[in-house]
């Protein structure tokens, strides 16, 4: 397995999954990312990342119920696993530490 370090985009996707709680499937994640980051996100990229996260064991997925939309195909819902949660917390901790070390005047003026 590849390194367990989270990439930047992986982290955002993981956070989005966590934020969407019970409604995290590929298209919704895409939309959410587009809404929050303001940049256009391709389905293919998200798909690849989800696949990678699942390989790393950071998320798990299960198929939902079939509906009349999507050509009758079921959605695959993702949720964050405990190791996913740990990875997120760890990433956040690293950032917090770094934030804490930055003296206030350095970032003053940036809005």
């Amino acid at each position: 397995m590849k390194g367990t370090n989270l990439g930047e985009f992986e982290e955002i996707v993981l956070l989005t999954i966590a934020a969407l709680v019970n409604d995290a499937y590929s298209v919704a994640i895409c939309d959410e990312l587009e809404k929050n980051t303001g940049r256009s996100v391709k389905l293919g990229v998200v798909h690849a990342v989800l696949n990678r996260l699942e390989e790393k064991g950071l998320v798990k997925s299960k198929l939902g119920e079939a509906t009349s939309t999507r050509g009758g195909k079921r959605k695959r819902f993702y949720s964050v696993t405990s190791s996913g949660k740990a990875a997120l917390l760890k990433a956040r901790e690293v950032r917090e530490q770094l934030w804490n070390r930055i003296p206030d005047f350095i970032l003053k003026g940036a809005s």
Partner: protein
């Protein structure tokens, strides 16, 4: 899903299904569909579809692609034994169907095998030359301003020499000349031999291994002679031939080498080779202008390109030579082209060929016909397999329940078809062996051209054909079975839609019968036409006439004197040529100021009465003493018409003078028009002059005998007494005419055979369908019978559908054949017997009769079954 909603393109969805891993397929499909719906709203259906397609292609990534399932292949391998076993059981269980399939495929493939063997033989022509790929022949295209173009295998000596001197990019050039021949004398023994002149580069271009002698110098000096092993043995027996001298006419040649015999599959054949240097010394101007650019009739030029040489650049430089030389020509053009060695055996349309060749188009036609027949047999297989699928679909259902995938079912049925095809191959190889000898004996030329022997490569090609046929025949039923729905099959077998494609199958039966009818009517018409051609009233009598060819050894006078002694010979005459066989002699004739080319025959005073030519006016030619002046000529009606002599009145034309060469000849007789050439050409103006035929020409005997072999033996004895060297060539006139039209007899035989096969296959297919159709309707028949239907009614009910199909086939085939003959074939013959509609109807009745016997026997059997037996089983 609502039907009205736009959907993404089907093929893109299928592509996705095909490549995507099953684990993530559904999710991905859903996602793409959701996006598609969104795009439909935002950007319209067309854009949405395009984006969908692009997305499907974009998602082709390592993590989405399914891994090849080795396990599947492994299962195939393990199951192969089982497939073979079940196939074997099935073949044995359904003897009728397997029999129809195997025999049908076998006889159809035998034609395919023959075509493969033929093509393979022609392709392996000249394979023994090490440089086969690099050897080219220079051929000539001659175009006169007011004439048809002529293509010749020969070229001028000048062309050969020019190419040798000035064209770069050629490794070797050899010049050859045709027409060497005569009686070779060694001491007392005489042997007629023929061959070609060739220069010293000959052996470095062609691979003809020498047994004795040096290939580099064997053809260098004038009067050098190279013998083949056989001709050396004929001339010298077991003695050493090298260095001996052989005399042709008055010239002595020295044997400088002995070469191995030429393999049969060589495009050129000869008994001897003579050094080209001899030509210059012996008779350089025998046909005028030895070094003339337009003397294109006697010489062959072969070139050898260097390795990786380019034929096109050589062709370009040759074109420059022709352009320069053509400037000096008036009203004509001579172009030189390169022909590779591999093309030679497939091009029979060149004049002055060095050896025999096959018409490439004829091979294609034969191949096409073989394809039609094979496809017909394949279709039988497909049709019968699907028709009896009711019995096997349960087996497939259970296999599927046990875990067989589509692939496995496909594999099983294809294996079965291939096994049947291979069994058929065994049978058809036997048929091929029988066919081979009768095919070769159809035309004497074929025997010298072809071997058709089995080689490992040929056997491999046969196997390939069988496997291809198996795949072709097996794929449609295999797909049919692979798609079977398990639940339907196991729950209620009758719900299976066997007759879904029933119209296609009916159409195919019509196609089969159309071809059968076309083949069989073509054969009947062709046979009648051929019979008509050889018994056509040529305008003179050919009955009981034997023609003996003078070979140059005996003087005609002597022979005639001896032959007159025979009591069986009632009449005897001499002529330059035998007419109506396709040979033509011609010369220029002038009447007043009008000059024209006319046909010619040289005859003696007995010729016209012997052949019973009808005189419209005047009398026969008088004999002329040797050395006396020639003054008389007999002409035909067409000549009067051509020159408009005396307003075409034969009586008044007598006494008119024609200028022939420098002689003034008086018309003393006018004969009724007769067919001088073959029946393919129109009757043209003709003159007949008196000549004393001595060493070349023909002796015509009218023979009256009960015992032809004894008479022949007596004539032969006289010949042998006078000429010990040459065997006698004596033939009945009627046989000679038959030979002249032999190509048509060959065509009729080929078509007859194909017709036989087509009818066999179509009949078997029909039989299978009828058996199946009556079996499935047995219950219906029984109930009808119980309710009071008569046997005839039942037979009518069961067979009317099939008979309707046959009638449709006849409606297509008969007019098609009629127009084919009327507009394409028979226009080639100026004179032919009329085509009769009864011939078409006869063909139709033959086919109908066969079909009716088959339909009738099966339907009658069904109609006669005891209804109690059938209905009891319910």
């Amino acid at each position: 899903m609502k039907a009205s909603q736009p959907t993404p393109p089907k093929w893109a969805e299928r592509l996705l299904c095909w490549y995507c891993r099953p684990a993530i397929l559904e999710d991905l499909q859903g996602d793409l569909h959701e996006y598609f719906e969104r795009n439909v709203k935002a950007k319209g259906v067309k854009r949405a579809r395009l984006i969908y397609i692009l997305d499907v292609i974009k998602f082709f990534r390592i993590y989405t692609v399914r891994k090849p399932e080795f396990i599947n292949l492994l299962i195939h391998w393990i199951m192969l034994g089982s497939y073979i076993k079940t196939s074997g059981r099935n073949i044995v269980r359904n003897k009728l169907f397997s029999g129809i399939n195997i025999i049908g495929l076998a006889i159809s493939m035998s034609v395919g095998l023959l075509v493969i063997a033929l093509v393979s033989d022609f392709r392996s022509y000249d394979d023994f030359h090490e440089n086969k790929d690099r050897i080219y022949r220079v051929i000539t295209a001659h175009q006169r301003q007011d004439g048809p173009p002529m293509n010749l295998a020969t070229s001028s000596v000048l062309a050969g020499k020019r190419i040798k001197e000035s064209v770069t990019g050629i490794e070797k050039v050899t010049l050859m000349r045709r027409g060497f021949g005569g009686d070779a004398k060694v001491g007392e023994s005489v042997m007629p031999l023929s061959g070609i002149w060739a220069d010293e580069a000959f052996f470095s271009i062609f691979t003809f291994p020498l047994i004795q002698g040096n290939p580099a110098t064997a053809l260098k000096d004038p009067y050098s002679l190279v013998l083949t092993e056989t001709s050396a043995r004929k001339l010298f027996g077991s003695e050493n031939a090298l260095g001996q001298s052989v005399k042709f006419d008055t010239i002595n040649y020295i044997v400088t080498a002995v070469m191995k015999d030429i393999p049969r599959l060589s495009h050129m054949h000869f008994d001897v080779l003579v050094s080209f240097a001899t030509v210059d010394l012996v008779k350089p101007d025998m046909d005028g202008g030895f070094m003339s650019w337009s003397n294109i009739y006697s010489n062959y030029t072969y070139i050898l390109l260097p390795e990786h040489g380019d034929a096109q650049t050589v062709q370009a430089s040759i074109n420059k030579i022709s352009t320069a030389e053509n400037k000096a020509l008036e009203d004509q053009r001579i172009d030189l082209n390169l022909q590779s060695l591999g093309e030679i055996p497939f091009n029979a349309r060149l004049s002055n060929p060095i050896g025999l060749a096959m018409n490439g188009i004829a091979l294609w036609i034969l191949g096409g016909l073989a394809m039609i027949i094979i496809m017909s047999a394949c279709f039988n297989y497909t049709n019968l397999s699907i028709a009896r699928s009711l019995r096997r679909s349960r087996e497939v259902g259970i296999r599927k329940v046990m875990g067989a995938r589509k692939m496995h079912v496909l594999g099983q049925f294809i294996v079965e078809a291939v096994i049947i095809a291979l069994l058929a191959l065994l049978l058809s190889s036997g048929v091929f062996m029988l066919l081979r000898s009768s095919f070769l004996s159809m035309e004497p030329k074929l025997q010298t051209m072809l071997s058709l022997e089995l080689s490992p490569r040929l056997v491999l090609q046969f196997m390939l054909l069988a496997i291809t046929v198996g795949l072709l025949a097996g794929l449609p039923p295999a797909f049919f079975f692979a798609r079977i729905n398990i639940i339907k099959v196991l729950k209620d077998i009758s719900s299976l839609q066997v007759f879904r494609h029933v119209n296609i199958r009916k159409a195919l039966i019509v196609v089969q019968y159309t071809f059968s009818l076309i083949f069989i009517t073509t054969t009947i018409i062709g046979y009648n036409q051929y019979k008509g051609l050889i018994s056509y009233d040529l305008g003179f009598s050919t009955e009981n006439i034997v023609n003996i060819k003078l070979a140059g050894g005996v003087k005609g006078d002597l022979l005639v004197k001896e032959l007159k002694e025979l009591p069986e010979v009632t009449d005897i005459s001499r002529s330059l040529m035998v007419t109506s066989l396709g040979n033509i002699h011609g010369m220029q004739v002038k009447y007043k100021n009008d000059s024209s080319g006319v046909w010619l025959n040289l005859i003696d005073e007995n010729y016209l009465p012997l052949h019973q030519h009808k005189f419209l006016a005047g009398r026969n030619l008088h004999a002329i003493a040797e050395g006396a002046e020639e003054s008389e000529v007999v002409v035909n009606e067409q000549l009067l018409k051509r020159f408009d002599i005396a307003k075409r009145d034969p009586l008044k034309a007598l006494g008119e003078e024609l200028l022939v060469d420098t002689m003034r000849l008086t018309i003393v007789g006018v004969v009724k028009d007769f067919n001088y050439g073959t029946l393919e050409s129109t009757i043209e103006p003709l003159i007949m002059r008196y000549a004393s035929i001595q060493y070349y020409g023909n002796i015509n005997l009218r023979v009256k005998t009960e015992d032809w072999p004894a008479t022949f033996a007596r004539i032969n004895a006289i010949w042998q007494k006078l000429d010990k060297v040459h065997p006698m060539e004596a033939k009945f006139y009627s046989d000679q005419i038959q030979e002249a039209y032999n190509q048509f007899s060959v065509m009729v035989k080929v078509f007859g055979f194909l017709a036989f096969l087509a009818v066999c296959i179509a009949s078997m297919g029909l039989l299978g369908m009828v058996v199946f159709a009556t079996e499935t309707r047995l219950k219906e028949v029984s109930i009808r019978k119980v309710l009071g239907a008569s046997e005839t009614k039942l037979v009518y009910m069961l067979s009317k559908g099939f008979i309707a199909l046959l009638v449709i086939a006849a409606c297509i085939a008969l007019p098609a054949t009629y127009f084919f003959f009327d507009k394409v074939v028979l226009v080639k013959f100026m004179y032919h017997p009329p085509m009769r509609v009864s011939e078409l109807i006869l063909g139709f009745f033959i086919v109908m009769l066969l079909a009716l016997v088959m339909i009738g026997s099966q339907t009658l059997r069904a109609a006669r079954t005891n209804p109690a037996e059938v209905l009891k089983n319910e």
